[in-house]
């Protein structure tokens, strides 16, 4: 299993850089082993450097950069081995318009192998969905769910 982990690590590492460039444009990204001499127990660490910035610890990243970095790893793992199903609850909330576009682009690209369920208030995210469900409480305190169209959602928001 040591060989297997090493192969998986090297493969995901490459995909992490690939997805990072799609979501962030330029910049540098790397997955590193905390203890490369000991493949059996070594941990994994994320290093990223947004375009043109210096390498720094993750705490200094902005809210949106953190969310995008998390998505970078998630999507790299999906490229390595798609899981049947992915459920994301308002992960687009901290993203600006340009980054929402890149995020939904990746979701679209991965959706032939993975079913995505996206809870969102963002109209740009809704617009890429194959189907939309509206959850409401017509009777106070009681949730119901029904299939809706993008036009119906746009009208309800007004």
């Amino acid at each position: 299993t040591v060989r297997m982990f090493e192969e998986t690590f090297n493969s995901v590492k490459g995909k992490f850089v690939e997805v990072f460039h799609i979501l962030f444009g330029n910049g540098e990204a790397e997955l590193k082993l905390t203890d490369p001499d000991n493949m059996l127990t070594s941990g994994v660490e994320i290093y990223i450097q947004p375009p043109g910035k210096k390498l720094q610890h993750m705490g200094l990243l902005s809210g949106g950069e953190k969310a995008l970095t998390a998505m970078t790893l998630l999507f790299a793992l999906f490229l390595q081995k798609p899981t049947p199903f992915c459920f994301l609850d308002e992960v687009d909330a901290p993203l600006d318009d340009a980054n929402v576009e890149r995020y939904v682009g990746m979701v679209k690209a991965l959706s032939d192998k993975t079913q995505f369920i996206l809870i969102t208030h963002n109209h740009n995210t809704m617009s890429i969905a194959d189907s939309i469900y509206g959850v409401a409480m017509q009777e106070y305190g009681v949730s119901t769910i029904l299939s809706v169209t993008l036009e119906q959602v746009a009208r309800a928001g007004r």
Binding site: L73, P84, F116, I119, M137
Partner: protein
């Protein structure tokens, strides 16, 4: 493996029998604040076997059962069912089915818990076995709760290694 539909009855704000179909591709779930969107994700994590009420935003397991509204009395139990298809052949054979399988979890306010696979009682372990090696589970990285997207970058190096091992 494919998710076909989710059935909710008495789970949090879904007091009436509710069915949600999951078509292929991308499904968006929208709606006003407090309408019950995140409760659907809680239902999925619960039917996968989540045992800690705090992970479902409750103080104790009773909090997942519909606790009443202006016009409705509290429910006595919560039930969630998940129908899957394209499952692993060995699993399908075990439950005597060719394609679909439905996992169901029930919790009564009196404390009893029940698990079913295709309407036959089973243990929680049986449900967890279905998802072995798929990267799916109550706390899998592919389910990200509201406001917790940082859980991936705040993870320890050991946790990150575990996420990678799940995809090996």
């Amino acid at each position: 493996m494919k998710f076909n539909k989710l059935y909710l009855h008495g789970f949090k704000s879904f007091v009436d029998k509710t069915t949600v179909d999951f078509p292929d591709g991308i499904t968006a779930i929208v709606g006003p604040n407090g309408s019950g969107k995140s409760n659907i994700m809680d239902a999925v994590r619960w039917v996968f076997g989540e045992q800690n009420a705090k992970e479902l935003r409750g103080a104790d397991m009773e909090d997942i059962v519909f606790n009443g509204s202006q016009k409705r009395k509290p429910a006595g139990f919560a039930e969630v069912g998940l129908t899957l298809s394209d499952i692993d052949e060995a699993v399908a054979a075990k439950y005597g089915t060719f394609s679909e399988i439905t996992i169901t979890r029930k919790f009564y306010k009196t404390g009893e818990r029940e698990y079913y696979i295709n309407n036959r009682k089973c243990r929680l372990k049986d449900i967890k076995d279905i998802f072995m090696d798929t990267g799916l589970g109550a706390r899998s990285i592919s389910i990200i709760e509201q406001g917790k997207v940082d859980k991936i970058i705040n993870a320890s190096p050991e946790e990150l290694r575990f996420f990678l091992e799940e995809t090996a």
